[in-house]
Symmetry: C2
Subunit: 138 residues, 2 copies
């Protein structure tokens, strides 16, 4: 059974066929689908699901903190169900492949007070870019 689905159910989320399908599509590791990809896969399981519902559902899962929005490329947002282990992303500049990675240390400590301009910092996002082994050997 889907972890994500379990977690959502546990929050008293009203369960519908559409929401179940979206949650199922998003479950797993190293999953980083765009809204459109989610929609395409959802349609395969439930042909009459609408685009608006997919957007709404993704938006709600993000609000609930069960899914993270990622913008690794400059096009569509991607949705990452791995919201409960802090991680960063490693992106292949050629093929767009994305991996979850776990850097050591706390990137926040690298920013001296003098460089904070009085901001209260709540979050740090790190994106590593490079070439994946596949593309490098091609």
């Amino acid at each position: 059974m889907s972890d994500l689905l379990e977690r959502l159910r546990g929050r008293g989320w009203r369960m519908t066929a559409q929401r179940r399908v979206v949650a199922e599509v998003l479950d797993g590791d190293h999953i980083h689908l765009t809204a459109d990809e989610v929609h395409a896969r959802a349609v395969a399981k439930l042909p009459e699901i609408s685009r608006a519902t997919v957007y709404n559902t993704l938006g709600e899962m993000v609000s609930l903190g069960e899914v993270i929005e990622v913008s690794t490329d400059r096009r569509a947002k991607r949705y990452d169900p791995n919201a409960h282990r802090p991680h960063q992303h490693l992106v292949c500049a050629r093929c767009g492949a994305i991996r979850d990675v776990h850097p050591v240390g706390n990137p926040l400590s690298d920013l001296p007070d003098s460089e904070r301009f009085g901001f209260t910092i709540s979050d740090v996002e790190v994106t590593y870019r490079g070439t994946c082994p596949n593309c490098a050997s091609a």
Copy 2:
């Protein structure tokens, strides 16, 4: 005289009124305009400049490495003329204000080999998010 303009001229870039205006608009510190904002400001100086030209020109400046594309929010790309001093960005989650910041150390060294999945990493982008002093006191 504009630094950016000087650098572009030095590369034998064919100079036109439109390109000059785009370069002028982009010059300065902590500048992070969207393509649309660049266009709006360019139109103020040269009313007949077209959107396509602004996009083309920005794209070329990015290719030449004289301007950096930044995606701090999930909407439009922003253009940062400060391409020659490595820096990261600090973004206010409420008002969207952006500051250039200079963390100490090299974020690359925080990613162990075991977390690199065979990638050759060429670049690291860090975005700090928080609340700016203005928004915090409001």
